[in-house]
Symmetry: C2
Subunit: 322 residues, 2 copies
């Protein structure tokens, strides 16, 4: 970074964009990348899957808790997981950055590196974006994906009798957040999970191929997010709390923080696990854990999701204005 | 609005999303709209054109200068014009909203109405989005479009000898901004042009069909934006200042504000006119005004755009960190 201007305000809009895009090679699905009025992204099966998410400093990340690189990884992961949750394969990202002039250029370039590195293993790339001046730091990520000829897996198709299964981590990011909130920095494995999620991207298209009837990515909390599936599908989902894997590091950390580790598993978001419903005869490959059943609505006084047959009274998940 | 909660914080995330999406019918190109992990948008020719833009309160709009409805129109127009500038027809928008909890619900619903009404005449619709809590108000709009089998018109194809032509208004929004900045509210036609641009969307695909070699939407200022075309194409663009239409209301307003109306025409953005280069023999239909010529680079000491054969010394356009 020697010789480069220190802040985005000093560098200016066009040189900043040049410095960012120099770090972001276009992948195979990007026909026209950054530097024009718009990007052109391949959509070979005649449709594009697309999702947009905002991350606001102080709300979705803290610069004193996370390096810029990890914020980039997390920002990309959040939107790429939405693409996977439709049964699609990610192809590209567009990224908008609202930045204060005093933001270090090095921070923005590390953010770009994190975005790039989260995209690269899944075959996607950053195809363009926008940079504007703002008092507060906000990142807008739009992800694109291809269904490769499959039908999209929505939230609305769950059938009574289906099994409910989860792929990926649950509660790790929430545990990491709890640790950081209390001023601690370890166990490192949980703090790292908060800083940089590891969504099981490939499980999304796999679920679609296996015949998943409904799917969602767990961004707010399992009970709350499965509530969206139950509502959209007009069903009830009954979870069995005993089947969840609660690692020893969870137990230890929960004890140290006087917390219940199951509130992280059932109510913690931001790991971007995938939760899907499958016909009961489906043979689920490694990586899927059956955690519940789809039942008829109205058997439990209006609750959409039960835990062990009872309405859940813990924190069900994150809501942005709460 | 009787009976509805007053602020977005009072209404809460999920009810707010329900209230917004109830006002946003899906158009013909939206296969799956708001309410799932991601939207699915048609891309019949195997590619999607996409562009993302951020609008920050205090920087790109002011709530005391513009109604929410007009902010919605402007936010949509800014991104839809980028789609047109590639020669594409808009199909859908995704909209992210970072909002303070105290923001009135009515403001957000009017914003949604503005977004919807700017999309509807061009056949597009809002296909989804995101709502998050933030200290400051920021709107992220991603627009999608279809090339309908045409090749995209980039900034990089201008050829020596081409004519440079413009469709749409130039300087109207800048004049309106100058009026509001000085504390005035009229002439109304110019203030309205600042609040709500009228990009010539259909001229984008038309230019592509006519064989345009390069195109850009004038979002920052004609001289600056044509500078991007000149640089990307490796050419020089020479504008003839005498051919621009400078309406009488411009002359009068400029006199009242002691301003030069040509600085608005040549350096004012946000009208989202389209500027394109065409082979010299092209017969341009109504609505295109020839404003210059493409010449060989290096004939004027490094400047990318000349006005009447001389480097332009006025304000060339907007830069976000300036």
């Amino acid at each position: 970074m020697a010789g480069e201007p220190g802040t985005v305000g000093e560098l200016g809009e066009f040189d900043l964009i040049r410095a960012i895009t120099a770090r972001l090679p276009s992948g195979p699905d990007v026909v026209i990348g950054a530097g024009d009025d718009a990007a052109v992204v391949r959509a070979n099966d005649g449709a594009v899957v697309a999702s947009t998410d905002l991350l606001v400093e102080g709300r979705h990340f803290r610069r004193d808790w996370s390096e810029a690189y990890d914020v980039g990884r997390k920002a990309a992961a959040q939107s790429l997981a939405d693409i996977a949750a439709m049964g699609a394969v990610p192809t590209a990202l567009l990224v908008g950055l609202a930045a204060p002039p005093a933001l270090p250029v090095a921070w923005v370039l590390s953010l770009a590196d994190g975005l790039r590195d989260e995209c690269q293993p899944v075959g996607a790339s950053v195809a363009g974006g926008d940079v504007v001046r703002s008092d507060s730091l906000c990142i807008a990520v739009t992800a694109f994906g291809s269904l490769e000829g499959r039908a999209p897996v929505t939230r609305a198709g769950a059938q009574v009798g289906d099994v409910v299964a989860v792929a990926g981590r649950l509660g790790w990011a929430a545990a990491g957040y709890a640790i950081l909130s209390r001023g601690f920095r370890s166990p490192r494995v949980l703090v790292e999970a908060h800083r940089r999620p590891s969504p099981p991207y490939a499980k999304g298209p796999q679920a679609a191929t296996l015949g998943a009837t409904a799917m969602i990515d767990v961004s707010d909390g399992l009970v709350q997010d499965l509530g969206h599936v139950a509502e959209a599908s007009g069903v009830l989902i009954d979870l069995a709390s005993g089947v969840f894997d609660v690692p020893e590091v969870f137990q230890d950390t929960a004890r140290a923080l006087s917390a219940d580790p199951m509130t992280w598993v059932l109510g913690g978001g931001e790991d971007h696990a995938l939760a899907a419903c499958f016909p009961p005869e489906t043979e689920l490959p490694d990586g899927w854990l059956v955690v519940g059943r789809v039942r008829e609505q109205g058997t439990a006084g209006g609750a959409a999701v039960l835990v062990d047959g009872e309405p859940y009274d813990g924190p069900a998940g994150w809501q942005t204005f709460s």
